[in-house]
């Protein structure tokens, strides 16, 4: 998995959190709400899919640490 994918999960969760704040805050505008709501649903779906599907990449370093 690439770094982009990894950062995507964190960024998407952060974006979703910002959206919640927007909906619950003073910046809310009804004209934008429909688009934002759809985007939030899509984002939540993507996060769930990514968390459910992708695994961790585990790499054992080749360096021999027993040598001084």
């Amino acid at each position: 998995m690439s770094n982009k994918d990894e950062s995507d999960i964190k960024q998407k969760i952060s974006q979703l959190s910002e959206m919640v704040t927007w909906f619950e805050g003073d910046s809310f505008q009804l004209e934008q709400a429909s688009d934002k709501f759809q985007a939030a649903q899509l984002l939540a779906q993507e996060i769930e899919t990514e968390l459910s599907k992708i695994g961790n990449q585990i790499n054992v370093i080749k360096q021999d640490f027993s040598k001084q």
Binding site: S7, M19, V20, F37, A44, E50, F65
Partner: protein, 365 residues
């Protein structure tokens, strides 16, 4: 023929003896009790190792003094036997470890006091670990059960991590140096990890004593990258744990501290969407209420206007009625039509009849 004894200079004799010792004992492990322990000039460590029947001198540099030693402690030393330039036989110690839980605890306690005084374990040195890290370095033995537990929990809880694993020995002589090397390596990675996790499962006090090594503890405290330790069982606390930014009770607990549980995150997603939906609906309801209030206000204004117009009409009607000629006739007045010219006829309209009259005279007033 008689064998001639080998004739050597003193220096050659010492060199030859050392060569023979080197060949016979390139490395020897000797067990004994420490006596006459001292450190000279802050650099050189001297002590005797003895048992019931003998004593041997030992020498090492302060660099190798990784865990405090006191007289009376029982040690196993890994050393090279040497004959010094002064003809004294000595063991040059490369590594050592305490034998016996009491000595291990005493040594760890002495080192803890020393490092505590230096502030190595102070709370204000502790850094927070990143939330949802992307890149993590793990220092552990990949064969150890503790490492497997850690990876299992990690994979179960979170996705998308890039984990670089430094496989090292986690117990015995040389283990601390390997962990130090791995720490240094991880701190110098070009694509550096956000956190370094040191993992070691449960073991005896002797097994865990690797993590009471002074240089290792200092290396953890000096790490540029925050360090999380998951060493031993819940009841085990090593000096490495005290120096780390965060101490986990076990390797599994380290994984729990390192990453959130994706099931919780997914559950939170639906909560977020629910909150958004609720806020959205509340805003729509509020807007509907506002529009309703506006419509009511408009209705009320229209009513007011209509009422006012009706009043005006009534007033006009009243005025108009007052000017109605029939009403004038009713009050006994008459309406005269025609030219007031002598000889002409005039029509005089009264309420109930009309009179035709002839003008006989017109007087100017």
């Amino acid at each position: 023929m008689v064998n001639q004894p080998l004739e050597l200079s003193v220096s050659d004799f010492l060199a030859l003896t050392n060569q023979i010792l080197d060949n016979a004992y390139p490395s020897v492990a000797v067990v004994g009790e420490v006596a006459s322990f001292k450190v000279n000039q802050g650099k050189y460590v001297f002590f005797d190792l003895k048992d019931e029947r003998g004593t041997v001198s030992c020498f090492m540099t302060v660099y190798n003094l990784r865990q405090p030693i006191e007289d009376g402690m029982r040690l196993i030393v890994v050393a090279n036997p040497k004959l010094t330039a002064w003809g004294k036989f000595s063991l040059t110690v490369k590594a050592y470890r305490m034998i016996g839980e009491g000595d291990l605890q005493r040594s760890a306690s002495l080192l803890e006091q020393k490092l505590k005084q230096e502030g190595l374990f102070d709370d204000d040195r502790k850094r927070l670990l990143p939330v949802m890290p992307k890149r993590v370095a793990v220092i552990s033995s990949t064969d150890a059960a503790g490492y497997k537990d850690f990876i299992k929990i990690l994979n179960d809880r979170w996705s998308g991590l890039e984990v670089e694993v430094a496989h090292v020995q986690v117990q015995g002589i040389g283990a601390a140096d390997q962990v130090i090397q791995a720490l240094n390596y991880c701190n110098q990675m070009p694509h550096e990890p956000e956190v370094i996790v040191i993992i070691r499962g449960g073991g005896s006090a002797d097994d865990l004593s690797t993590f009471n090594d002074e240089l290792l503890v200092r290396a953890i405290a000096a790490s540029r990258i925050p360090v999380l330790t998951g060493i031993g069982h819940e009841v085990d606390t090593t000096l490495a744990d005290l120096a780390a930014d965060v101490r986990a009770a076990t390797p599994s607990n380290a994984a729990q501290i390192l990453v959130p549980d994706k099931r919780d995150v997914i559950a939170r997603l639906s909560t977020d969407i629910h909150r958004i939906r609720r806020a959205y609906q509340a805003m729509i309801d509020s807007q509907i209420r506002e529009v309703g209030a506006l419509v009511d206000r408009i209705d009320s204004l229209i009513d007011q206007r209509l009422q006012s117009s009706v009043e005006q009409l009534k007033h006009i009607e009243g005025v108009m009625r007052a000017y109605d000629p029939k009403l004038v006739l009713k009050r006994g007045y008459a309406i005269v039509r025609g030219d007031p010219v002598v000889g002409e006829k005039l029509e005089i309209l009264r309420e109930k009849d009309t009179i035709i009259a002839e003008v006989v005279n017109v007087k100017q007033r």
